[in-house]
Symmetry: D2
Subunit: 371 residues, 4 copies
């Protein structure tokens, strides 16, 4: 079996996908054969140059050509979020598996349409929630499943960056609901939801508030200022179906935070905490030591935390952001080969994204929103 990859986009996430799929087969010994078949970007010269750099067999400037190419079995979509839906629907209609970056779509209705189409098409899908592929995250989840911290009863999560912190940044289309959809919730918040749900199970309902810190931003041409339509921060208090509670907090205007994606899970016997800016560490407190020796343990990930060992047999040597994407790509290829759902597929991802839209609604309408 040989699987052909068609990749749309060569930016931040496009390159991340290209590097991940290039590496996955060599990292893991158990993957189906993969061909880097076709790369799409515009203009065509750029597509060609990047295809040479990334090692793709061919290039195109027309994503529909890619979607329909018989060389392509997986369509990887890394374009701006507003384009995901049309591309994914076309790819699935053509019988292709789809690897789509997050968030799936600008609106919940669009995401629902994509999810329904995926179920109808019977193809494999995965959405790029790469942080939950971290061996540290998998270990946290495993420890919870094993009862190491008892019953999980409370969750605290925060995801902050500072790319919109500067008051003097120029206005762009990213400030509009029409072109960008949600603000920090769509960029960052949905990653946090993927972690919360992955560790605590499904959400039940929530209260929320949001804030646009910089109500207007200067136009780049100096002609004045335009409104920022989506949120800079969002804060939600959530209830999980399990009865647990928690909070989900996010800001894209948090000076100094570069990729702060932190959580803590409070259990009846202990606590687990994690910070993405130190992604190779996990904090664990359990109450079963002699009291004078209790304390949070900093667990450095290593071969004991699969699939770390596929990258390096020595602990504490550190995985990087790109490695998480490689794990994601490997997982998707394995799912395709096995004919089983990947995680998170469009159905699971729809669940994550329903939550960020619920936060938006709860904040705008001032009421508890059920999920």
């Amino acid at each position: 079996m040989s699987i052909g990859l068609g990749l749309i986009g060569t930016g931040f996430m496009g390159k991340a996908h290209a590097l991940a799929y290039r590496a996955a087969g060599a990292v893991f010994g158990d993957l189906p054969e993969l061909r880097l078949a076709l790369l799409c970007d515009t203009p065509g010269e750029k597509a060609g140059a990047m295809a040479r750099q990334f090692g793709f067999a061919a290039a195109t400037d027309d994503w529909r050509t890619l979607v329909e190419s018989p060389e392509v079995d997986i369509v990887s979509i890394t374009t701006p979020n507003g384009l995901h839906k049309e591309m994914a629907l076309a790819a699935m209609a053509a019988g292709k598996h789809v690897h789509c970056e997050k968030p799936m779509a600008l609106t919940l209705d669009d995401a629902r349409e994509m999810e329904a189409a995926a179920r109808a098409a019977g193809v494999r899908t995965i959405v790029g929630y790469n942080y939950i592929h971290n061996p540290a995250f998998a270990h946290a989840r495993r420890m919870i499943d094993e009862g190491v911290i008892g019953r999980p009863v409370h969750f605290r999560g925060v995801v902050d960056e500072d790319y919109q912190a500067d008051p003097d940044l120029a206005w762009t289309w990213r400030a509009t609901r029409a072109a960008a959809g949600l603000g920090t919730l769509g960029d960052l918040g949905c990653h946090l939801v993927s972690m919360a749900v992955g560790l605590m199970g499904p959400l039940e309902s929530l209260l929320a508030d949001t804030q646009t810190i910089h109500a207007t931003r200067p136009l780049a041409d100096g002609s004045g200022r335009a409104a920022v339509e989506n949120e800079d921060t969002a804060s939600a208090i959530v209830r999980f179906r399990s009865g647990a509670q928690g909070t989900l907090l996010t800001s894209r205007s948090a000076w100094g935070r570069k990729n702060r994606l932190d959580f803590e899970v409070h259990g009846t016997k202990g606590m687990i905490a994690f910070s993405q800016e130190r992604m190779n560490e996990l904090q664990l407190f359990v109450a079963d030591e002699p009291r004078a020796r209790q304390g949070f343990r900093t667990i450095l990930t290593g071969p004991e935390h699969p699939p770390y060992g596929a990258f390096c047999p020595a602990p504490g040597h550190q995985l990087g952001f790109g490695d998480l994407k490689t794990i994601e790509a490997g997982h998707f290829l394995r799912a395709i080969a096995a004919g089983e759902p990947a995680y998170p597929d469009f159905t699971a991802a729809l669940g994550f994204e329903a939550a960020i839209h619920a936060i938006d609604v709860a904040a705008r309408e001032g009421r508890r929103v059920e999920l």
Copy 2:
């Protein structure tokens, strides 16, 4: 001028007050003379023994005697919270200044009555919100005032301990609304509010949810289980009058947290963060360095952060919990000598405590509560 101190209580906070008032005059060179006049506890033998240990001139087992003693100018109240009101009202009626531990009272109505009485009596009052006397906290506030991080636009605060984390702990009166009032909000949450308000200004309104993790606890005599009536966790999303938003989170069942009282203030030019478990450190990020050299700075407190230097002329040598109480005592003595309000007096503290009751109401009634 010589001021006589009458202290009621010799437990955790009673000893803290005794040590603080003993030390304050020697630490600071500018305080009025203080006499450790009278110590009250029951039984009388205990009061006598502790008076000898703490250096008080006399002891009594009757707090009314203390309140009325002509030797006593300040009444320090460190008894269980349900007793504060009666003692404070009697002390103020007798014309005494009052140093009351937090929270002021079990209910907001009681706290309001105390505040009104203080205003009517014209005496000096202070409530034991000791964490805001930390030189690190004062420095954070000063940096905000000086504009170091621009306009403060968002606040995140959390205060967690684990003294109620163990599911097997026996039921006590602390689990009842009647005897203990609020749960983690009263014990811990009000400290966090004191920090939030101190840094961001007054609160305007909030949403909240609370959770009782352990719905019942075993009775100590093994005869069964009894209900826990107050909250183990509370989460609030707040709006400040300034337009800033934020969150206030607390748990008394957070394994591994011993005195986690953390905040971060997001400004338009930078960020300040603090963690009480490392109370001699302040984190500062400002965006005015060359980008390649930007990062959070760990500022170790020292003589540049008054009144640290009164304890030690060398930076990084660390103040402790007791030193914060000494600063509080010194501040109160100075206010009395100057005939000016201390901070936080009953009026300011009522503001803090209104917030924790508002969180309780918001959670129980499922609605936004104005302050």
Copy 3:
């Protein structure tokens, strides 16, 4: 039994002693009664003013008067190091117990003379190695004694500050061998030795090198530059009598370090690490957990780590620098009352100080020095 304290000096350490002796009796319930009898400084006005601030019964500007006063049982010596010897010898000759700040003397010969006099006089002595009175240090030692980390086989220690880091600082007498003796070894290095010996047992021999970073410094009057005669940094590789090895490193010119007094003890089953700038934390690694959950634990000190609980019954609330001095004072008073040696007395301290002089000799002579 009532013990009278005579304190010489009111600077950094003088105030620290005053505060500690004021507090000790109230903190600990088991101490003999103490009178703050007599305070000495010059001029007499200053002595009188500080006596009032610190609560001493009387003041003098003549240390010989203090040493001979019948009101005085303990003589606390906090003057510049070059004065310690004469004062200590006089005090011991007068039959007084002596609490001397570290280092005991400028030269090893002087320290030996003091130690011999102490043995001859039969009085109690203690030297101000306050960091080993930290409950965290005591806990580290106890864990080693209990075998928690197996046999201790290697020690790494460093003590750095930055008070001599600035190249533009003016020359002072502290730069001279005659007036100040050693450089960073005397100020800082001897503290590190006290920790090393306390945890690993006696030293056997060492290799060393030292460095004077700023060979000259500007004279304060602008008239030129003068030589710095003592070392800014010192590094030693040591062998302990137990067969363990290790390193002792120190710098007084280490920018950004305010009180970095760090150690790690490598054992055959685990490791303990400590950093004075986070003096309420202890790091412990033991290899007896399931491998996937192993990691360094951050133990926050609390009542489980005596005598923390005498200050505060709640863990994680933090002791400060002054509290260590209070523990030291309490320990000395208890030793005097019991008629037993305090630790470290002049004999033990001589051992510490022999090590810093050995480092100096090893560095100057380029050879291994036996202890």
Copy 4:
């Protein structure tokens, strides 16, 4: 120009090289074309299987075939250290560029022979000191060059792991001088030297001591115990040619340390510190802020620290261990294309390795060794 890679070995470092060379061209847009030409391991079946996994065009079980293959331009040597010399000499004799893992050889004489051969052959060489390719390290060096911390005057370095900490580990050939050469100095210490020299310039002389903690280890077959001939720890006090001093410390028996490769550079105006276990962070202290705001800054690496941006355009997203090897591979390919020396080539690496042998000699002979 197309460059063919021949890789010998498929273990820890073999896989690291394979992944790095696979990725380098796609990560960096400016590299010459690379072919994964030939992979060597034994037995041949393993070589074939790994060639398929890693994407090599062909496989062999005979390293001499690889070295002489016309398809091969670079020979990557990742076999046990005792084999490096023969392979490297053969490869260079065949006119191939050589990418050799560290240390170059078991003895200094062997390394010298390799270095002389490289100069004679005129080929490009590089040795796998991958940690100095970290963008954080490059940034540290650049800041030193730019004078950000003034003149560097002191260096502290430590490299610890715990792979030989367990007293019950079985004896292997790695414990022998004949088969393994040095102990922790060869495995770990040479990495530290590469950092020290990279930041401070060449070493001049040193004092040292070493220690074999576990003098014997049990034979795997239970037939008794055998001697450990090489060192578990090594400690050196060094002088640099610049006049700076410092220390180099290493242990392979340091429980809990997984890849602790830490340094600090003391400058006359500031300090830089780094810890490999948090390899995306750099600590910087500079004394040019207002004193009350000074502190160590935690700089998270990002696109401002080249070549981080080639992997990810967003700061704080973390590179991993494998990415360092990719940078190393890219650097070597670029050097070959440009016809310029790579760093560290055999000449530079010989300098590093001379230092670890000097430490060994200094320790055994108890004298200062010049470099």
